[in-house]
Symmetry: C2
Subunit: 300 residues, 2 copies
C-alpha cells in the first residue's frame, strides 16, 4: 500500500469555516498553512498547529465572506501552479470573479455545514465530518485540479457532491437561502403578534427561526448574491402555501420522512458522469482517495 | 414550613405528553393515576409507577389528540368535584366542547413542549422542565381551580403563562401553527428542486423542516382547529416576505437575538392582573407554590 502524495493546503480566512478546515487538516496530519487579516484569528489558528504564511501553494482555499472574495488574495503571494478553491455559499458570482482571475486553476467549492455562530471562536475541527461538500465542475474545469479539491474535502470527513456552479446555486436557493428568508419573516410576524406570542414560543419557533440568528450581513450577502434562484425558490414555497392544508402537511411530511437508500456505483472519472451522480442525489465518498493514488502527484 | 396539600392528578391519554406528565409527577412524589385506551400505553405508564384507574378525581388532565378531546372521558368515572384541564394545542375548540360539558370546573391548558416524536415510546419525565405552560383564564374561570392546574404545571418544572383561550390561539398560530405550514411548504419546494437539492440539504433545511416530521394527522388537526388565527398569522408572514431582503434579514435577526431580561413583579391574584402578566410576556414561576399553601386545600 503506497502513501497518497497530497499537496499542501493554504487556507485564507480563519473564521468558523476556514479555521475549522485548517484545524481539521492539522488533525488529519496534513501540511496546512493559513492566513487571516485579523491577528486574533491568526493566533487562534497557530495555537491549533496551523503554520502562518503569506506565501501560498498547493490547494489555496478562500474561506472569506462573499463580498471579500475578489480581494482575499491581495497582498499575498500565490504559487503560479496553485489550485484555487473557495468555501463561498454561492458559486456563480465567485466563478465570475475569482474564476475569471485564475482561469482553469480555479475550482469552486461549498461545504454544506456551519452554524449560526461565526468567527474563529466557533472553530470546530469536526465541523465537516459527514457533511456534503459541493465541488464545482464547469465545462473547462481541469479534472486533476478538481480531484485535488475533492481530496481535501474527503480528508476532513466530508462527502463530495459534483455539481456545476449554476446547478449548485439553484439547489442551495431551495435548501439554504429560502430557509433564511422564511426564518426572518416568521420571527418578524411573531414579534408583530406581541410579547405573549414570544413568551409561548417553543421548539417549533426555535427551529423555524434558528438560522436567522446568523450575522445579518452574511445572510444578506448570500441571498443577494443568489437573488434570481432565491426568488424562484421562494415563489415555489409560496405556491405550496396555497395548497389545502391537509395536502400541504401530508406532502411536506412525506419529503422529510422518506427513506433515502444508498447504493454503491462506479462511474467513469469524467465530467458528465460525475455531474450525473450529483444530479441524482449521489455523493463521492472517502474510497475515492485510494483511487487518487498516482493521480494527484501528476498535476501541479 | 408546612407541606402543601395538593390534590391527586389523573391523566387520561398516556402518549408523549400525558405519559411524560404522569411520569414527571411520579418523579415529583405526587399521587398520580392514568388511563389510556391502548393497553401498551397503560403498561408503559404502570412500569413507571403510574396507578391505572378509570375512576378519576382531583385534577383530571385530558392528554389526548384534539379530535378525541370531546369523547376522552367516555366510559370513565369522574368525581363530581374534579377540576378538568387538557393539554390540547388549540384552546377555543376545547373550551367550546369540554368547557361546555364541565362549566367552570374546566380550565384549559397547553404546555409548550413536545417534539416531532409521539406516542408513549417518546415519554420523557423531563419534558416540561423549563417549558412554558399556558393555563387559561376565562371570565367565569374559578380562580382556585385555575391555581390547582397551575400548581400541577409548576410541580413538573414548567412556568405558567396566564392567558385567555382566544389570546392563546392567536399567539400559538404565530409561533407554532404557521411554522408547521412553512416547514411543509419548504420541504415540498425543495423536493421540487430535485435530488441534488435534497442531497445538499444541511442544517438550515433540517431546522426549517424539523416540525413537519410530526404525525400529519396531528398537525392537520391542529392547524384546522385554529384555522382563522393561523390564516391571519400566515398572512403576516407573507407580508414580511415582500420586504426588501436586507430589511427582512435585519428585522428577523433583531427578533431572535434580542435580550429578554427578566425581573420579578408581584401581582394581585385576580384575573385581569394575571392576564396582564401573560400579555406582557411574563410567567408565573415556582415560587407561586409556597403562596398556594392554604389556598389549594380550600377548594374541591
Amino acid at each position: 500500500m503506497t502513501t497518497l502524495q497530497v499537496p499542501p493546503v493554504a487556507v485564507v480566512g480563519l473564521g468558523q469555516l476556514g479555521g475549522s478546515l485548517a484545524a481539521a487538516l492539522v488533525t488529519a496530519g496534513r501540511q496546512v498553512s493559513g492566513w487571516d487579516v485579523d491577528p486574533a484569528a491568526r493566533d487562534a489558528a497557530a495555537a491549533r498547529g496551523v503554520t502562518l504564511t503569506q506565501e501560498l501553494s498547493g490547494v489555496v482555499v478562500l474561506a472569506v465572506p462573499l463580498p471579500a472574495m475578489a480581494t482575499a488574495l491581495d497582498g499575498l503571494t500565490v504559487d503560479p501552479d496553485a489550485t484555487i478553491t473557495d468555501l463561498g455559499s454561492v458559486k456563480r458570482p465567485v466563478l465570475e470573479t475569482v474564476g475569471a482571475a485564475f482561469g482553469t486553476r480555479f475550482v469552486g467549492g461549498h461545504p454544506m455545514c456551519g452554524t449560526e455562530r461565526s468567527g474563529f471562536e466557533a472553530t470546530d475541527p469536526g465541523l465537516f465530518t459527514g457533511a456534503r461538500w459541493a465541488v464545482c465542475l464547469e465545462p473547462d474545469t481541469e479534472l486533476p485540479r478538481w480531484l485535488r479539491v475533492a481530496e481535501v474535502a474527503l480528508a476532513v470527513g466530508a462527502e463530495v457532491v459534483p455539481v456545476s456552479a449554476a446547478e449548485h446555486d439553484d439547489a442551495v436557493a431551495a435548501i439554504s437561502h429560502v430557509p433564511h428568508l422564511l426564518a426572518a419573516a416568521l420571527a418578524e410576524a411573531a414579534a408583530d403578534a406581541g410579547p405573549l406570542a414570544l413568551a409561548l414560543a417553543a421548539g417549533s419557533f426555535a427551529s423555524g427561526t434558528r438560522v436567522i440568528g446568523s450575522d445579518p450581513a452574511f445572510v444578506t450577502a448570500m441571498v443577494e448574491a443568489n437573488a434570481g434562484p432565491t426568488a424562484d425558490a421562494l415563489a415555489r414555497v409560496l405556491a405550496h402555501l396555497e395548497s389545502p392544508w391537509p395536502a400541504l402537511v401530508e406532502g411536506g411530511n412525506a419529503v422529510v420522512t422518506q427513506e433515502t437508500g444508498r447504493r454503491d456505483v462506479r462511474v467513469p472519472l469524467e465530467r458528465a458522469a460525475l455531474l450525473a451522480v450529483g444530479r441524482a442525489g449521489g455523493v463521492i465518498t472517502r474510497r475515492l482517495a485510494s483511487f487518487l493514488e498516482g493521480w494527484v502527484p501528476e498535476v501541479g
